[in-house]
């Protein structure tokens, strides 16, 4: 079965530090992978996605993510972190690409990031 795991429910960083949020997935075919961000009281916003090609993808707000097939990971990175990056981050897998035209995302549990001054 397809699944996404974000093992860190909460991460706290000092402003200026480097952030890396972990995401691992389980999927038998080539994955389409996404990161979305949810700021407090707001809806989810798209950050970046990996479809194919370069394993390091850049997104909005200075974020990037690295796809590693070897260990089925898609970790989100940013340096330096800013207090405004405090939010909940969701990793997602788009399944059934070959058989369906829909974006049937499977989401991880989310990681709440706090960046403190």
């Amino acid at each position: 079965a397809q699944s996404v795991d974000q093992p860190d429910a909460h991460v706290t960083l000092s402003e200026g530090a480097s952030l890396e949020l972990r995401c691992s997935y389980s999927y038998s075919a080539a994955p389409y992978l996404f990161w979305y961000v949810q700021y407090p009281g707001q809806s989810l916003q798209f950050l970046l996605k990996y479809i194919t090609g370069d394993t390091v993808v850049k997104g909005t707000k200075g974020f990037e993510a690295e796809f590693r097939k070897s260990n089925s990971s898609f970790n989100l990175k940013k340096s330096p972190a800013h207090w405004s990056d405090s939010a909940k981050y969701f990793c997602a897998l788009d399944r059934d690409i070959a058989s369906s035209s829909f974006s049937k995302l499977v989401f991880g549990q989310g990681t709440s990031l706090s960046v403190v001054p």
């Binding site: 996404f34 809806s43 059934d96 369906s100 829909f102 974006s103 049937k104 989401f107």
Partner: protein, 113 residues
């Protein structure tokens, strides 16, 4: 930027009550989705649709019906609400299907007492 509007933003009902959550998108997207967000589960897909009259069953459909009346409007119906349906509900749309960005509404917080 795609616009997805959900209403109401907050709803309280009692067990056994009837609830309709509304979603409208104004960017002519064909694909629309209903998700629920619960702590520890992330977002889970309830129902989805491609165009008016089309309905597909998601991963957690029990207790929910959906109806897509127009390309713009997608409704989620809870005909006999239960406390287990207390959740934050998000509607989303996308221009095309697989691999494309989803645009989410602001969410509806539903409490079933």
């Amino acid at each position: 930027e795609a616009a997805v509007t959900q209403s109401p933003r907050n709803k309280v009902t009692v067990t056994g009550g009837n609830v309709t959550l509304s979603c409208r998108q104004t960017n002519s997207h064909n694909y629309m989705y209903w998700y629920r967000q619960d702590t520890g589960h992330g977002l889970r897909l309830i129902h989805y649709s491609y165009g008016a009259g089309n309905l597909q069953i998601g991963d957690v459909p029990d207790g929910y019906k959906a109806t897509r009346t127009t390309q713009e409007d997608f409704f989620l119906l809870l005909e006999l609400a239960s406390p287990s349906q207390t959740s934050l509900y998000f509607c989303a749309s996308s221009e095309t299907g697989g691999g494309n960005t989803l645009y989410f509404g602001a969410g509806t917080r539903l409490s079933v007492l």
